[in-house]
Amino acid sequence: MPDSLPSDSVGLVTPQTLHFDEPLQLACGQVLKSWDLVVETYGTLNQDHTNAVLICHALSGHHHAAGYHSPGDRKPGWWDACIGPGKPIDTNRFFVVSINNLGGCHGSTGPNTVNPETGELYGPDFPVVTVQDWVNSQAVLADRLGIGCWAAVVGGSLGGMQALQWSISHPDRLKHAVVIASTPRLTAQNIAFNEVARRAITSDSDFHGGRYYEHNTLPRRGLMLARMVGHITYLSDASMGEKFGRELREQAYQFGYDAEFQVESYLRYQGERFSETFDANTYLLMTRALDYFDPAYETDNDLVKVMARARCEFLVLSFSSDWRFTPARSEELVNAMIAARRKVSYAEIDAPWGHDAFLIPTPRYNAVFSTYMARVAREVGA
């Protein structure tokens, strides 16, 4: 944390764990009898409970979206650029709820938590949950918090898929869905990258079929590789070029296979750090949830028919250099909304950072996002 808190920070925040005994029916057929969600909230819920905004996280995200947990924190929450007083999701106006999804590894029920039925960690026995399951669990959370209708459900990437799923599954429970750098379904190429990541993890000899906890080890090499390949897909050729170019760590080629280029060393460092802090089973689960997401699957791939169920308004944003979920994928979604006569606004933000651009504030992104959310706030009397 900086020496003094910036005035546009939500400041020090404390996550809380909410326990649920309502059985949750999952898409795979299994039922979670009891479960926990770790939640952070920022801002104040107004008297009429109309100003609540749900933040949905992406693959490696969690509940800590804004502010600091302690004065010693080096970095704020993962979307601090967009959440805070005067920021696009303005905590002076909105009551913001940010959660760690089921299957995550930051405190909510998932592979690295104890299965109450066995007293052991779930590990690989934790059911494969889907975006639909997450949204259903978030709806139970909304009930608990007394939120009948969200002013907006907001997310980027996998988070955007949740916002989209909300609009289809619970059409009367949100006024706006903000779908950023997302897609209505993964392409074969997207799934292929996920498969490489999963194979890296599962083929690590320390993986032990997902029961590495019992062996007091972690599939570090596998998770590191998974993160390295994932990380490449979040950046763009141009942004990697600008950051690293062909820069060497030493003056000259070493004629060996260690990390000689800066980009190699960066990827290794990021991968190693990630492999110590993220759970491999959660990584498998999150990538699978991405693969499975396809709301048009049940209507013979007719996305228009599915979008016709929605009642909320939409803001869809894409980024010019995003090659993971390209602007064309957002446009596919927007076109289905147009054909279904849903109210949608769409902008393609010019930004060089690839998929990660949704986490990085730029003047236009900020202007569009802030303006849209300010109108949402006016509408709901926030």
Partner: protein, 199 residues
């Protein structure tokens, strides 16, 4: 209130589904939403205009008519397709008109008249490309790459078998003057056309 909004409004039935090509800051769509409870979208490429549309609560899609076309919209999916002061700025006005008539039952088009007498006089007396309040750019940097006259437009509609249902000719302030009715192609600055398919 802008006089052209008032004129266009009269041609829009309540609850219509509308597409506005080059919707600018959303003033027209916002006005129609308020006055005629319309639904629909505006297409725009100017970032500041897009943001302003969002501020007004107008559904706006970032889409470039020249490079992306309109193939993402279905046949007969709108009651009215609007295009105000943008026809002269697109790469192929004829194709855009075809698309307007494919997507909508009706089209409403406004554009500046290049045969307006002041422009004729400018060209004749100075021998230079005319500039005016309506057309303030230089020949080399103007976005208005396909200027035409009322007669040109009507000839094109005739060729395409589009019916001109209404035409209101106005001056630079969008006022309907008796003089410009007398000899529109000479005295009118801007025309507001309402067209449908001929069949």
């Amino acid at each position: 209130m802008r006089a052209d909004l008032e004129i266009i409004q009269q041609w829009i039935s309540p609850g219509s589904h509308i597409l506005d090509l080059g919707c600018g800051d959303g003033t027209l769509l916002h006005y129609l939403q308020q006055e005629r409870q319309t639904s629909g979208f505006g297409l725009e490429i100017n970032p500041d205009h897009i943001t302003e549309c969002m501020n007004k609560g107008v559904a706006v899609i970032e889409q470039n008519l020249d490079t992306q076309g309109l193939s993402n919209f279905d046949d007969d999916s709108f009651d009215t397709v609007l295009m105000t002061q943008a026809l002269q700025a697109v790469r192929r006005p004829d194709i855009v008109l075809d698309e307007m008539m494919r997507l909508g039952r009706e089209g409403i088009v406004t554009f500046p008249n290049f045969a307006y007498w002041r422009l004729r006089w400018y060209l004749m007396s100075r021998g230079r490309m005319p500039e005016s309040e309506t057309l303030p750019h230089k020949w080399y940097n103007t976005p208005n790459i396909h200027l035409c006259t009322f007669r040109d437009f009507e000839a094109l509609c005739h060729e395409k078998n589009f019916r001109i249902r209404n035409r209101t000719v106005v001056d630079g302030e969008h006022q309907d003057r008796w003089l410009s009715r007398l000899w529109p192609n000479m005295l009118g600055q801007i025309a507001i056309y309402r067209i449908t398919r001929g069949d």
